[in-house]
Amino acid sequence: MKIYLNESACISPENTFDEVFLKGERVVQTTQNVHAVEPAYKPFIPLNVLRRMGKTSRMGIATGLKVYQESNIEFDAIINGSTYGSNAESFKFLDQIFKFDEGAMTPTNFVQSTTNIVASQLALMTNNYNYNSTNSSKAHSFENCLHEASMLLKNELANNVLVGAVDEISVYTYHLFSILKWVREDAVTPKNAILNKGAGFVSGEGAAFFHLSKFPISNDSVEISYFKTFSNLNSSDLKSALKKLPFQPDLILSPKNGDNDTDEFIDSFMSDLNNIPSINFKKYFGEFPTVSGLSVWLGQKILQKGLTELDEVKWNKIPKHILIVNHFVTNQTSFILLSCQ
């Protein structure tokens, strides 16, 4: 069974929502985390609703609604993936609990903090009564949404699914990442972090949504020709898993993030693919568990626009198959292969 990607939207630390990123415009951030470039939300979200929304909600809902507006169909299902949900809202509510010693509190932060807020608000804002779900599985949260969508297709319960993923970095996740010794302590851009390796990563944030379909909607539809997730696999097992791809890719989106140990591991299992041109997508988006959603947007756009270069990386021919590899510090790996029709 085939799966296709159609309309899509992406918010990231680069100008991806209006796509000037694809024309070469770059945003430079030298903070310890790179923050999303948030668009003007007004065309998508009414101001009175926007005021109550946390960042996760607004990024996820705006990208989802953009895809909805451009697709102009009633989706059979809406599925979102998020690792940390609206964590800033959770922590605001937590703050109330301890500040007021479990006294009278306003419920807004609690309501906004539920992980399913993005998928359910998308249903509410598009009058959609159909299948609705939210998955969370650290660095497989987005991939598990692709899986759930493919299950709906295979079970003949859906033809068109709105699928996406979103995560935000807050001061709170930053503290947790610091305790876990995941973050890079010296302020560097994600790009410089990859060039000048060290300990830890530069965290990022963002959202990506897609119209996923059972049949191609147009000549621009890109096929997801293969995807698979792996947990706790060693280098040689991942190496053999890479041999099972149905097509040899002509471009790779690589998950290196500048952390010494992570990049060494990635190099070890990807060494057979060294002759294929590759782009480090985390130099644009930073590192976070659902960044693979953003990388799929990037891969889809490269295929659709027939790009033959991105910054310093050039490849000779218009690519037909792009392999996206993701690997996160939780030892979760995924392969997603995108192909032209």
Binding site: L94, E102, N132, S136, E156, H175
Partner: protein
């Protein structure tokens, strides 16, 4: 394309009623309540409201697990492990036979609310839970405890989370993606959730009274329940406990925290479940209602029931006995649904006293020697996430 039938071959449960499916069902059949004044939970609201707490400390849970457990496994994971182990044992399979785990959850290690607060403020670096607060952690921890399962996923659709985990497992087996899968849910009581529900004034100081005129809120509880789902071909000679024949997952598309007056989402969820099962509404023998005991839910659910069923079949809410166990509720109530099928009985609401004049429906009293063909189980959550499941008696 032809689809596989999907069978339940193992179950495990732990709730405020007891440890294990049989203790849970024995007490349930006697209509005992696990709802009382909470002892263990760190919240001053335990003085004010009733909860359905499992009367075992985390250390006692670890002793019952009786295997090595890492220090970063929070209460949600510990409860989940106990239910998962029981389900695997009762299905008589090996851990390594499993194709994956799908779990419904809404708190994960956020039940360590005080630790979470300190860690997130950057005040305290000492807690082992820093990589366990995200919703997906518990399922991954249970998977690693079981030796590492190929597929791991967590669904958070609020109070319908574990019903949707069962539905996702059903889809995987139905289309041939999996043969044996562990599905269910786990949620521990947490200061975070208790205060969340209190901020919305949804907690009751008394026993919850689903569908009654004087209902005034829910009793929050904790539980874990897991199932082994197997495909027809994976059964071998084994006789399954029940078959799962339908699910409906819809969104009410109305409001973030309340259900529409005509219960459109619940109506569509039940309707879709009937459609997938290929049966008619009159075929349903009993409905395990969501029935939280809040003004809004019970009214909307009753309205949806009246719209679907020309004569509403016997229905009741098992939350009377276990409280509302949030992410675990759909799975725990599915365990009671299957046990009622296996034991030819309905455990209803025998003490129901005050009809709500605007609902005009009375939950069923308990019935013995009652053969049940199809049982429907409803779970509705915040965000309008509505799910209905249908279980079939394999002897009928």
């Amino acid at each position: 394309m032809s689809f596989s039938r999907v069978f339940i071959t193992g179950m495990g449960a732990i709730s405020s009623l007891g440890e294990g499916v049989s203790e849970n069902f024995e007490k349930f059949k006697l209509r005992q309540k696990g709802i009382k004044k909470a002892q263990l939970i760190d919240s001053r609201l335990k003085e004010e409201f009733l909860f359905a707490e499992i009367p075992l400390t985390n250390e006692e849970l670890k002793i019952r697990i009786n295997e090595d457990v890492p220090s970063h496994f929070a209460r949600t994971t510990l409860l989940g492990i106990l239910a998962a182990k029981e389900a695997i044992k009762s299905a008589n399979i090996n851990r390594s036979d499993l194709d994956g785990i799908i779990m419904g959850c809404t708190v994960s290690a956020m039940c360590e609310t005080e630790n979470l607060y300190k860690n997130a403020q950057g005040i305290d670096n000492g807690s082992p839970f820093c990589d366990s607060y995200d919703i997906g952690s518990s399922a991954m921890e249970i998977s690693s405890f079981l030796g590492g399962l190929p597929f791991q996923n967590t669904i958070n659709t609020a109070c319908s989370s574990s019903a949707n985990a069962i539905a996702q497992g059903m889809m995987m087996i139905r289309c041939g993606e999996a043969n044996k899968i562990l599905v269910g849910g786990s949620d521990a009581l947490s200061k975070y959730t208790i205060n969340g529900f209190n901020s919305m004034m949804l907690l009751s100081a008394d026993f919850c009274k689903p569908f009654q005129q004087n209902r005034d809120g829910i009793n929050l509880g904790e539980a874990a329940a897991f199932f082994i789902l197997e495909s027809e071909e994976s059964l071998g000679g084994k006789i399954p406990l029940a078959e799962i024949v339908g699910f409906g997952n819809t969104n009410d598309s109305f409001h973030p925290t309340s259900i529409s007056d005509n219960g459109e989402g619940p109506f569509k969820a039940m309707n879709n479940a009937l459609k997938l099962a290929g049966i008619q509404s009159k075929d349903i023998s009993y409905i395990n209602a969501h029935g939280t005991g809040t003004e809004n839910n019970d009214m909307a659910e009753a309205e949806a029931l009246k719209r679907i069923f020309s004569t509403v079949p016997p229905f009741s809410s098992t939350k009377l006995y276990t409280g509302h166990t949030l992410g675990a509720a759909g799975a725990l109530e599915a365990v009671f649904s299957v046990e009622m099928i296996l034991n030819n009985c309905i455990v209803g609401d025998d003490d129901f006293s005050q009809i709500d004049s605007s609902i005009q429906l009375v939950p069923t009293k308990s019935e013995h020697n009652k053969s049940l063909n199809y049982v429907m189980s409803n779970s509705f959550g915040f965000g309008g996430n509505c799910t209905s499941l249908i279980f079939k008696n394999v002897k009928s």
